[in-house]
Symmetry: C2
Amino acid sequence: MKQYLNLYKEELLNNVIPFWEKNSPDKVNGGYFTCLDQFGKVYDTDKFVWLQARQVWMFAMLYDQVKPNTEWLDLAKNGADFLIKHGRDKNGAFYFSLDQKGNPLVQPYNIFSDCFAAMAFAALNKVAPCEEYAEIALKTFENILERKDNPKGIYNKTFPGTRNLKSFALPMILSNLTLEMESLLDEDKVKSLVPGVIHEVMEVFLQEETGLILENVNVDGSFSDSYEGRLTSPGHAIEAMWFMLDLSQKYKDEDLCKKAIATGLRTLEYGWDKEYGGIYYFLDISGHPSEKLEWNQKLWWVHLETLVFLSKAYAITGNNECLQWFNKVHDYTWKHFKDPDSPEWFGYLDRYGKVQLPLKGGKWKGCFHVPRGLYQVWKNLEKIK
Amino acid sequence: MKQYLNLYKEELLNNVIPFWEKNSPDKVNGGYFTCLDQFGKVYDTDKFVWLQARQVWMFAMLYDQVKPNTEWLDLAKNGADFLIKHGRDKNGAFYFSLDQKGNPLVQPYNIFSDCFAAMAFAALNKVAPCEEYAEIALKTFENILERKDNPKGIYNKTFPGTRNLKSFALPMILSNLTLEMESLLDEDKVKSLVPGVIHEVMEVFLQEETGLILENVNVDGSFSDSYEGRLTSPGHAIEAMWFMLDLSQKYKDEDLCKKAIATGLRTLEYGWDKEYGGIYYFLDISGHPSEKLEWNQKLWWVHLETLVFLSKAYAITGNNECLQWFNKVHDYTWKHFKDPDSPEWFGYLDRYGKVQLPLKGGKWKGCFHVPRGLYQVWKNLEKIK
């Protein structure tokens, strides 16, 4: 596996990051364009807060972890300033999207804008400490914790009482966000949050019967035999497993480490398309037709997060199954997602591995999973002896 | 074209309708199961109000138009009774979905449950006149007209003022619903509504520059260069064109008839996949990557509504282009959507025409587009001399 170290590092630093540095800054209004075609040309100017915040995080993290390149820091600050000026409603909740100038377009109907904003301001505060950044990060984190039992708030369309589900996305993100926020939180706060989050991920959403993770369960943790309750997203589960591995290393929790690796591998076995290769986007755990029309598509982030999981698990344990799977997923990913004609990677393939949408960035794909994945794999490979 | 008359008629009466009669009634709780696998087995018991209402409409319409089969009437009443008992919130708005027993699951966050319910109760009232049916149909129709400027109500996630769009779906549905409701409405009411609806469809959403119909425009009718504003759905536009043809016949409006045929054919030319055949689900009018991951899939309703449009246009005008296109779309549709192994048709194909989801009914596919399409084509073919 280690032979790939330079491949991941160079792809990150010489291909992907320069693509975003060059094409995404909005020099007039601040913030970033993320709707970029195959060659980096802007085809839509809306600003999606998830992606604005994730890009702030990415450049702050690179400045912190790779090298103190002031251009990276300036780029991160450019996005943060735009979010400070335009990102929040009067309650401090981050909108879902803004127009090019920063006028709000879509209300804070879900909590993930807040999650990525908290992550962004915490990371930026680490490299450019500033009261405002720290305050926003902390206040937003508090908002998330307050909203976590009804994250959609007034935009929740579910009739109360009939079928109260909770979603895997929240504990899954919190398991990563809590560590990301560590520099700003009391140690006691972190210690009080982490075990609950691990419990939710590894004991509530992880179904004992199948060993797989469900996207939604009843509030009491039981299985809901409904479209939402039967939904699984292998990439989502595997991404959570590398968050669990990080926690297992920090807290020297070997059981958690073992369980996370077993769960990740089981999910990969389950989610792998035996006929055409690649990992499915969604599957119905009972084998019924999925509600999602895109269920059999192959998405970039699913594959990158899987490579992070496998390289991390291998670096920790030397597990041979992780090595075999890494090689298989690596081959598929580089063959199908990397664009030989232009920087950055494709995001959306059909079941057969053919490019479905020739974009490099859009409403959901920004400067995040490709560079974070490449960075993570690079760093994991460095740890292999 | 006329040689296909019996094919459509028999497929409707001997294949598709018996499938729903046999598999969908919930004899315990009332209403219909619509989540049916390839062989008609129920795989999910939730009840989606769009589909409940559409099935009521279908059986009432067949009883009215095909033959007074009391089993059909009873089946329609079974669905209507379930909706009367469980379908509405305290303001009389129809929920989006209910569980098997009728407990509400998802709030009335969009207006289309109301649209299909009004259509259902109006049709049922025609064949089984009853004050309650008539009242519900009328009251619901009034609700729709009241809600039409903000159809999502409190569930609207758009920030007011930045980019106020209106959606094609509403005038499009109203153009059909107004005729469906005719037996219950004053003639003056119909006459006051119809011109406005035709204007919206044919002059506001139909873009002069391209001759194509947009799914969303600014409230002042101008083009919005955004994901929503660039969105087109060829099947949706073509379906609306047969609604326009019906109106053109009723009001003896030859210009409308000509414009509807030209628009439908232009849309079909635009939406046809020249490489693999079939009609795309969504396209971006500027040729940018679609926001919709399912953009290049081939959906049953798109193809059936196109066959209705083409056969209707041909029956009215004898237009040769309609004949040519009918043959082409007919061949594609029967080859790919009809299931040779079990009744009813597949709904979801990938770009290449391969079945993507082996269901016969689900959250969005019920007893509606296949039987209505078969019925409509049959009746259009009867009119050809």
